[in-house]
Symmetry: C2
Subunit: 432 residues, 2 copies
């Protein structure tokens, strides 16, 4: 950040005087790019990626640096008991009602600098701009840097947003450990959030939640749009499928007598991907992880285990697709003399974003001549947690080449700025 | 073996007196089962399997114990310079022509006690019986315990038989190491076979080679036969196929825009296994090893690498099959927006066994009312190396459940004995 130059903007509103301290250098530059780069320096890896896992040193440094930045720029900042960070712009008319805006600070392992971070930076810049241009809002606005979304250190996701909405509490993590065997609570304590001080940080003052995020897909790029307004976040089901056959000699077992678990898996994957392509343009089905046992070139596979990830924004479509493919799996297994075992380990329901705020965002982008489209989010986001409790809005900026969760993640500066422009206007309409 | 009781059988033949020392206990029992069990004690594992890798301690102990057993039973025994062990019954008329009979002493890791070992024991018992019943043969007979066939310690196979036939020499192993980094030559030296003493142990005195082995398949069991006479040993081609696609987000990448390496692989495996089933009953095609990168449930597979093992006893059938499937792979890769790279790393030609000895074996089994059938061997055996240079005969006894290379390997005592009966008769016809 270099040396920090402040300008003191003084508002007089409803008889009160408020002083909002703004980092002039950044405000003059209005540079999302510079701030994203700066935030990406916390947890920067040798490969140019970012690894910033919940409650680690780089995570703590990033949150603390953001807290300082907020405070230096006139937003009083505070943590809740699990490490969600809030920077508050107090409302003047109904200060007890809050427009929450932001995203998550954690990353995947060797992720990029935009995923999550851009949403925090964009919200921060938007709020400073609003404060600068319009003074304090009627409703309060808070910028949030959510502590965790990705599930990259501990096997649970949305720790930040789920605590705020009350769907998770400390009980959910009492047996959770990271891959080094460190308990969730121990990690939390080390980061300065003593589980003994925990009390559910549920927020009942939230009027609406607005998040901006990189798309993590190619829809906007392909359509030549700068902005996406998300109407639904897809539901996700994740299964593990285990096919049991019989290991046998690759040379001495005639084809008709085989119980080849990998051939059954191959036929099923062929069927389900063809079926997904034919069912609905928004349906996606992925087998991303697959292991073969014993995995030897001259031995017929005795067991194959694979994951199956199915997403759509309408639950009946998922239901019907699953019914079709698992019926086929059953038949295939019989035909191939193998057995199939299916277990469901994740079932996130589709979530509808608030159509009013979505419509508002579409209209505002039209006014500003930002090329914008409605879309479905196939990826999960904090908005889907908030959207179950409060009106929520999720905006996307393009991801170059659709790449995310990678050091190659990139969004053009123009697109970052267009996103902040629209976010600023949406927040203005909601809070002023 | 407990205490050893010898009886001295004295033959008078062509004016000479030969004394053949026979272990009476074993000979009385005529127990292949007991000897297989005994040999399996060298390298016995905790799971009840056998791990007896080339030039290891258990390998050396097994060879030395066999050498002692041969010598105690009247067969002068010797090693060649790489550790193949021979027990010789000298011929009286053309002692310079030798009928070689036996199999390999090494096992896979956690293998069974029959694979290889049974062939050595059967040959040993057969030769003792012949000596006992008929005295010395016209041609010499040698029982061989081949030092290596499986390729389980070092990445090369048939080290024993390929030295005898001259297709391998010391140059072939000069850069070869085991998985612990020990060089082949160092291991050889440690086992007592100094590479400095190496001189190609090629045998030009071999009249024919006769091997008996467990089937390692279910053909005999399924057909209710006790014996198989192998007409051909299948050729084998092994390929590595690499499919390159593009890793991408499982939720945000619509099906038509995917470059899913695993889906391409699945379609190819589906096609090739269906095609193999339709082409020829003797053709087998196996994908036994497959790895996915990055192998994460919510990431589309960017790369999939798998092996392909194709076997048939007629090369034109393999040629035509490979042509068909790789043409399909090319088309599939284009259709799926992925790339495929195919590399051949093993190409063992089919080998025909000697039809004269095969016919003889069929007739002899008919005489003895042993239920017998001609068959193809889909597995590789030392006979395929010998069969390229000398007339060779390969006989099979059933493997229960087709299981081999496993502690579960099992062949019934009756079947072991029927095999020795037939082998004895075949050797009798060839050497007397």
């Amino acid at each position: 950040m270099g040396s920090t130059i402040y300008c003191h903007v003084i508002y007089h509103e409803a008889g009160e005087t408020m002083v909002i301290q703004v980092n002039a250098e950044l405000m003059n530059k209005r540079s999302a790019e510079a701030l994203v780069e700066w935030l990406g320096s916390f947890g920067r890896t040798g490969k140019g990626g970012v690894t910033r896992l919940l409650y680690t040193k780089s995570w703590k440094e990033a949150q603390q640096a953001l807290k300082n930045l907020m405070e230096e720029n006139g937003l009083p900042a505070y943590y809740d008991c699990i490490g969600n960070l809030f920077g508050r712009l107090q409302g003047t008319e109904t200060p007890g009602r809050t427009i929450l805006t932001g995203s998550h600070i954690d990353t995947v392992i060797e992720g990029g600098k935009y995923d999550g971070a851009y949403g925090i930076i964009a919200s921060f810049i938007a709020v400073l701009r609003l404060a600068e241009k319009y003074g304090p809002p009627k409703k309060s606005i808070e910028v949030v840097s959510l502590c965790e979304e990705e599930g990259s250190r501990f096997p649970l996701t949305f720790w930040g947003s789920r605590n705020i909405t009350g769907s998770y509490d400390l009980d959910c993590v009492k047996d959770v450990k990271d891959s080094d065997g460190m308990s969730f609570m121990e990690a939390m304590k080390e980061a300065g959030f003593n589980p003994q001080d925990y009390s559910p940080p549920i927020r009942n003052d939230i009027d609406s939640f607005v998040e901006i995020h990189i798309e993590q897909g190619m829809t906007l790029e392909r359509n030549g749009k700068q902005l996406g307004v998300v109407s639904h976040i897809s539901g996700q089901r994740r299964y593990t499928v285990l096919i049991k056959g019989e290991s046998n000699h690759a040379g001495t077992t005639p084809m008709p007598y085989r119980k080849d678990a990998l051939t059954t898996a191959a036929r099923f994957i062929t069927f389900l991907t063809e079926q997904a392509g034919e069912t609905d343009p928004h349906l996606v089905a992925t087998v991303g992880r697959l292991t073969v046992r014993p995995n030897v070139s001259n031995v017929i596979a005795g067991e194959v285990e694979f994951t199956l990830d199915i997403r759509h924004h309408q639950e009946p479509v998922i239901d019907s697709f699953c019914h079709t493919i698992f019926k086929e799996l059953k038949q295939l297994s019989v035909n191939m003399n193998t057995e199939a075992f299916v277990s469901l380990w994740m079932d996130a329901k589709p979530v509808k974003m608030d159509s009013g705020i979505g419509q508002l965002a579409m209209e505002l982008s039209l006014e500003k001549s930002i090329l914008c489209q409605k879309m479905i989010s196939g990826a999960g986001h904090d908005s889907q947690i908030f959207g179950q409790k409060y009106p929520a809005c999720l905006l996307f900026v393009p991801s170059q080449g659709g790449i995310s969760h990678s050091p190659e993640e990139f969004t053009k500066s123009n697109d970052l700025e267009a996103g902040i422009d629209l976010l600023t206007d949406v927040l203005h309409k909601l809070a002023y």
